[in-house]
């Protein structure tokens, strides 16, 4: 809980830029006592935590703990049975998915879900289109708005592909990209929607250690541009290395919340998830 613990945890993050010791405590996403039932199954049970602006929050838990369910509730795919989810102070229940995206929440998928028969560039352009207003009439007659938005979208898409490091592959169909490139493309596509909050669902799944390290760098860079990051992850080293705070779920219940070091030493977490301490990675 003390600052010394946090500063101890931070330098361990492989040369991370100095993090402000106390992140701004402006709530961005509030998960307010959310319960989610599917028939008799309680997928989330009174889960309650807050995501603050500018931080990287890790959401972890053993398989089947409800991480992705929680994630889906937060992004508006599932409606909570009880409780509320507030994003930027607004309840998101009842909002359509594309509206939530426009409010500034973007996500990637555990199983990559790109548009396989579109090029990398077009994939990112779809994300950029989230804030465009060109519709059938202006596209049909190539009116100035269409041309301006088209140019802006393309520039933005190229910039983001550069940022995630796959600009040289921009005219390749998404399906032809390598696995790692596809994961990066998903992040670029999500960033194209100008998110305030970026939710990454196991972005490192299937990565080797070198790729994971690159991903860590990328996530930090994203945070440094002012985007808040929610990270669901299995890999403990990755989670410990990059997150500011961690929420731990087990059987749909929150069992711990706190700084990485605290969570790592929490006996409940060790029992539920890590099994044997220090053997976690």
């Amino acid at each position: 809980m003390s600052d010394t613990e946090q500063t101890k945890a931070v330098p361990a993050q492989a040369g991370a830029p100095a993090v402000e010791t106390v992140p701004q405590r402006e709530p961005l996403l509030e998960v307010d006592h959310v319960t989610l039932r599917f028939g008799g199954v309680v997928a989330l049970n009174d889960v309650d935590f807050t995501l603050y602006k500018g931080e990287i929050l890790g959401l972890i838990g053993p398989n089947g703990a409800g991480k992705t369910t929680c994630f889906n509730a937060m992004t508006g795919i599932y409606q909570p049975t009880e409780g509320h989810i507030r994003f930027r102070g607004e309840k998101i229940s009842g909002k359509r998915r594309h509206q939530i995206t426009r409010m500034g929440m973007a996500r990637t998928f555990q199983n990559i879900r790109l548009f396989p028969e579109m090029t990398a560039l077009e994939n990112v352009q779809v994300g950029a289109d989230a804030h465009h207003r060109t519709s059938v009439i202006s596209a049909l007659f190539r009116l100035p708005r269409h041309r301006r938005e088209e140019r802006e979208g393309r520039e933005k898409a190229e910039r983001l592909l550069e940022f995630v490091g796959i600009r040289n592959r921009m005219h390749e169909f998404a399906r032809n990209l390598s696995y790692g490139e596809q994961r990066r493309l998903e992040i670029a596509r999500a960033l194209a929607t100008d998110p305030v909050l970026l939710c990454l669902d196991e972005p490192a799944a299937g990565f080797n250690p070198a790729e994971k390290e690159e991903l860590l760098q990328l996530i930090r860079q994203i945070r440094d541009t002012g985007v808040t990051v929610l990270l669901i992850e299995h890999d403990m080293r990755l989670v410990m290395g990059v997150t500011d705070r961690i929420v731990v779920l087990e059987f749909g219940k929150k069992i711990a919340e706190g700084l990485p070091a605290e969570v790592r030493d929490n006996p409940k977490v060790i029992a539920a998830y890590l099994g044997v301490p220090d053997d976690a990675a």
């Binding site: 594309h98 995206t101 779809v126 989230a130 596209a139 169909f173």
Partner: protein, 369 residues
């Protein structure tokens, strides 16, 4: 057998690559040549040199008009099926709405006797079909896949049955004296007459070009990207901020507008519309044409629509061993489709994306073996 197929495949790919690699002026010149060819085609002075291409059993210019209407319909349906990936089995229903709107508002046999000129009614017909598209789409576009196909099928049947049995739509008796498009030669003879089908064909051809330009503009924009993203992964599209319902509705409306235009042209040419013009089979033929030509590719849809409509007419008047081949035209049509499914499932001129997809699938199959 397989090697021949491989050669055909790689040969066509080479043509495609050459086309995309050719300088711009070459492409424009070729395109211009193709367009000039099709404008010249209905003139006897020209087509008499084309060997077996003109149809022996039917007036060739009439056939060309029919073919051009099918091409227009294929281009329209390709928006819905090829780009947005919505399986619409009742597309011909929109054609019927367009034709009947013209008939009701212009024909003296109509109950409301407005007798408006053809040209005034065309935009109304397009508007009506778009309204029909939105009316059908609003409740049904929340359905996906098979369910949407069933509902659209039902829609086309509803239109047909309404046409057969409703007193207002005159059933078999139909509407006659539907006016032709306006326009006169210098000597006062109408440009769009009864006997000569050429002007109608030229009109449709011109409109096809305009529609294709419009569709191309749409597909190279936010709208087209939204359609394709919906086809590829509707959930992901929503989560990336695509208002999927709105764009699916637009795909329906745009497709319907093209069908409405085709219906209005058909009514203006035929002079007569009755319930027999709108059999369910037509919807199937157009869908087959789009898939045959290469779903998701505008050129593919044009070629598919043209070839399918032409092949059906080509059988007319050919006798083999005392059998009138025209009677068996759909048998051949079915055979061709089956062969296509085996040899070239992505269609004649597929979308480049689709081509890649099928190619890889083939590889996967080979690896699997």
């Amino acid at each position: 057998m397989t090697t021949v197929l491989e050669k055909v495949r790689s040969g066509r790919e080479a043509v495609g690559q050459r086309w995309h690699g050719a300088p711009r002026w070459v492409r424009w010149a070729l395109l211009a040549a193709v367009i000039v060819f099709f404008y010249a085609l209905p003139n006897k002075e020209f087509y008499q040199y084309l060997g077996p291409i003109p149809t022996p059993g039917a007036n060739f210019t009439q056939v060309l008009f029919t073919v051009s209407i099918y091409v227009l319909l294929a281009v329209g349906l390709n928006i819905v099926v090829g780009f947005a990936g919505l399986l619409d089995l009742g597309y011909f229903g929109f054609f019927a709405v367009g034709a009947y709107t013209v008939a009701v508002l212009t024909s003296p046999s109509s109950d409301i006797k407005t007798l408006w000129p053809w040209l005034v009614v065309v935009p109304i017909a397009i508007g009506m079909t778009m309204v029909a598209g939105v009316a059908l789409g609003t409740p049904t576009l929340r359905l996906r896949g098979d369910y949407l196909a069933l509902v659209t099928l039902g829609f086309a049947e509803m239109i047909r049955i309404a046409a057969v049995s409703s007193e207002f739509l005159k059933g078999q008796r139909g509407f006659n004296q539907i006016p032709h498009p306006p326009g006169k030669y210098a000597d006062g003879k109408p440009f769009f007459g009864v006997l000569d089908a050429r002007p109608y064909y030229w009109l449709v051809l011109t409109l096809i070009i305009l529609v294709v330009i419009g569709v191309r503009n749409l597909t190279h924009s936010r709208v087209g990207r939204a359609w394709i993203s919906i086809r590829e992964d509707e959930d992901a599209a929503q989560l990336m901020g695509v208002p999927t319902f709105k764009f699916k509705l637009w795909a329906f409306a745009a497709g319907a507008a093209v069908a409405g235009l085709a219906g209005a042209l058909f009514a203006g040419k035929q002079n007569f519309v009755n319930s027999q013009n709108f059999e369910l089979l037509n919807s199937i033929i157009i869908l087959a044409a789009v898939i045959f030509g290469g779903s998701g590719n505008i050129v593919g849809a044009i070629v598919g629509g043209g070839l399918v409509a032409y092949m059906i007419e080509r059988f007319r008047g050919i006798e083999l061993l005392g059998i009138e081949l025209y009677e068996y035209r759909f048998l051949f049509f079915g055979l061709v489709l089956v062969v296509m499914m085996i040899v070239r499932p992505q269609g004649l001129i597929p979308n480049r994306r689709r081509a890649a997809e099928f190619k890889d699938r083939r590889k996967e199959v080979i690896v699997g073996e």
